[in-house]
């Protein structure tokens, strides 16, 4: 996988994070972080709780304002855009606590997710005929296709908030994909997922990437998923990048072991390896 490193330097990154710093009061959540995510890859961001993973996602969404650094998406300065303008770039995301539009049906969630691509305004939305209705019909068809692809078509007309948590998480992914994104940020998609389903989910992620031409950034604690699906893994701790590379490289890094297991644990692991 040495090609990975070469490609990073030669090919322009889809998501390019440079020197990103976020402070909450005295706490430094992100400390001059550099990341490059290439188009078409599945990129995993791992690290202990509080390492700054979700903070990075929230910088991309605009819920957190970094104090220094830059963040570009396909060359566009993301930080210069208002929060609601970022979806139109083609950045979809999920939330750790799902944040579905709970009173809507699943299909309406997917329609709402296409907001940035629909053109209907207040005036055209008053009419029961015309362009607004036509584009809604197309958006609905697109939503149904995605529900089929994710295998949750049977829930299309169910009220999203009443569904079991596992299904809600999938609806969250479907909603992110409904945006017709180039990049999808998944915040702990495997949390609470039975271990038996993780391998399937990994396969599904790869298939969605290939069929929908989407780049995934994955925040994940589940190492089975990370190791089976990620092409690049970046390990964060205290807002810094500890290591980066293929899953095998990154996770074997002594600094990573220390961060995860403590220094004693790291020594033990080293002994065990010997």
């Amino acid at each position: 996988m040495s090609a990975t490193g070469d490609a990073t330097t030669t090919q322009q990154a889809l998501l390019d994070v440079r020197g990103l710093t976020v402070r909450f009061g005295g706490l430094v959540a992100l400390n001059a972080l550099d990341l490059r995510v290439r188009e078409g890859e599945i990129f995993a961001l791992v690290g202990p709780n509080g390492a700054g993973k979700t903070t990075l996602l929230n910088c991309v969404s605009g819920f957190v304002q970094p104090s220094a650094g830059s963040l570009t998406f396909d060359g566009v300065d993301v930080l210069a855009l208002a929060r609601h303008q970022r979806a139109a770039l083609g950045i979809g995301r999920t939330f750790q606590n799902v944040q579905l539009f709970g009173t809507m049906t699943v299909l309406d969630n997917l329609l709402a997710a296409q907001h940035a691509h629909l053109r209907a305004n207040f005036a055209t939305s008053l009419l029961p005929i015309g362009p607004a209705i036509a584009e809604d019909r197309r958006a609905r068809a697109h939503g149904r296709e995605l529900l089929e692809l994710l295998g949750i078509a049977q829930y299309a007309n169910a009220i999203a908030g009443a569904l079991p948590f596992g299904v809600q998480k999938l609806v969250g992914v479907a909603r992110a994909l409904a945006l017709r994104p180039r990049l999808v940020l998944l915040d702990e998609p495997a949390a609470g997922m039975p271990q038996t389903e993780v391998a399937q989910f990994a396969g599904a992620l790869r298939r969605w990437r290939d069929e929908l031409h989407v780049t995934f950034v994955l925040i994940e604690h589940n190492m089975t998923l990370v190791q089976s699906v990620a092409e690049t893994v970046s390990v964060l701790d205290y807002g810094r990048k500890l290591a980066e590379g293929t899953p095998a490289e990154a996770l074997a890094n002594p600094a990573v072991l220390e961060a995860y297991l403590g220094s004693a644990g790291a020594q033990e692991a080293a002994h065990a390896e010997r």
């Binding site: 970022r86 907001h115 809604d136 089929e148 994710l150 399937q200």
Partner: protein, 369 residues
């Protein structure tokens, strides 16, 4: 779960899903039921003048006049519901626009002698304009702060209208040149009904559109709404403006109905009535807006049946003075016990019927065993 390969088991450890067909059918039935109910309501309302003349004879016109008021209130309820039930902005300021609509109509059509249709339109547009001016800064705060700020707006409006009345040396802004057609209870009723039905139809389409979804998205998760490209500032303001315009329209119609505008149109009592209508009727429900207006409109009739003054022990109570208190109480009770309001009664009845049939069936099988 996430695979399209037919060989894989469906591992979503879920309760039996509302399967595609059954779910769709249930949704269809819900829509059908709502539409059927609305259609029935419409037929009754069109036939109402004739019915009332039959039933009440001489006092039919008077009774019809009350029903016109309910239709006007339904407009105001829809306006409050769009803002509070859909876009989730707990604004208490609509009574200010209700008074504004009424006073503008009285001034334009009454004093300046402009045609009534023009006065209605101007009252509506002016309310929308003031809605833009007030809504921008008001929506910078949210939740309880917005409620308090907008309640202040009502008090300010009320004082200004009072001041205007005092300066002009009058008790309330009477309208003396109402054309005969608008004085006739039948034509007034049909005019108000027509406007209300059109507004409800437009509202029905709007709330199912991209705009309506944006409002509900803000209500359900503002963070997700932003992340999916909803300009929340714009859509909150849009809800505020639409609500102001509709409330202004309702206020103008009310002034025609009452043949006067009065500073009590912008009062805390009026605010409570608007809130009671949407909470009792159903937050975030178009049908609920109409039901809430019906309920609030008929409550005084019910209270009229109570002997007044009501003597409890040594206390003698004038029942009509309790109306606002009763709305407040209903508001409280509805929030606690029926958060989905009257519009959900259908579901309650459905659940009850299902329970009864189940109970009946198990009783039957029990008997057979």
């Amino acid at each position: 779960m996430v695979t399209t390969q037919p060989t894989s088991p469906a591992p979503v450890s879920a309760a039996p899903p509302p399967t595609g067909r059954a779910g769709a059918l249930a949704a269809l039935r819900r829509v059908r039921a709502s539409q059927a109910l609305l259609l029935a309501l419409l037929i009754v309302m069109v036939a109402l003048p004739t019915l009332f003349d039959q039933i009440f004879g001489f006092s039919g016109a008077f009774q019809l006049h009350r029903v016109s008021l309910i239709a006007i209130f339904a407009l105001a309820a829809l306006a409050q519901n769009i803002l509070t039930g859909y876009a989730a902005q707990p604004s208490l300021g609509n009574a200010a626009f209700f008074g504004l609509g009424g006073y503008l109509l009285a001034w334009l059509a009454g004093d300046l002698g402009q045609p009534y249709w023009l006065a209605i339109i101007v009252a509506m547009l002016a309310s929308a304009l003031i809605g833009v001016i007030i809504g921008g800064p008001a929506l910078r705060v949210s939740g309880a702060y917005l409620a308090i700020a907008t309640l202040g707006l009502v008090l300010i409006a009320s004082s200004l209208f009072d001041l205007w009345d005092t300066t002009a040396g009058r008790q309330s802004y009477g309208i003396n040149n109402l054309p005969g057609l608008l004085q006739d209870d039948h034509t007034l009723y049909y005019l108000v009904l027509l406007i209300t039905v059109i507004v409800f139809a437009l509202g029905w389409v709007l709330l199912r559109s991209r705009v309506g979804r944006a409002w509900v998205a803000i209500r359900d998760s503002e963070a997700a709404a932003l992340a999916f490209g909803v300009n929340t500032t714009y859509y909150k303001l849009l809800a505020f403006i639409v609500s102001a315009a509709l409330t202004g329209l309702a206020g103008a119609l009310y002034a025609i109905w009452a043949q006067t505008a009065d500073s009590s149109m912008s009062s805390v009592d009026q605010t409570i009535i608007f809130l009671a209508m949407i909470v009792v009727g159903g937050l975030g429900s178009i049908l609920g807006s109409a039901l809430g207006a019906l309920f609030v409109g008929f409550l005084p009739l019910l209270l009229g049946q109570v002997p007044s003054p009501l003597t409890v022990g040594g206390l003698s109570i004038q029942v009509s003075t309790l109306t606002t208190g009763i709305y407040g109480l209903l508001l409280l009770l509805a929030l606690i016990f029926f958060p989905a309001g009257l519009a959900a009664i259908r579901d309650h009845l459905g659940a009850l019927a299902a329970r009864l049939t189940r109970a009946g069936r198990s009783a039957n099988t029990g008997g057979a065993a």
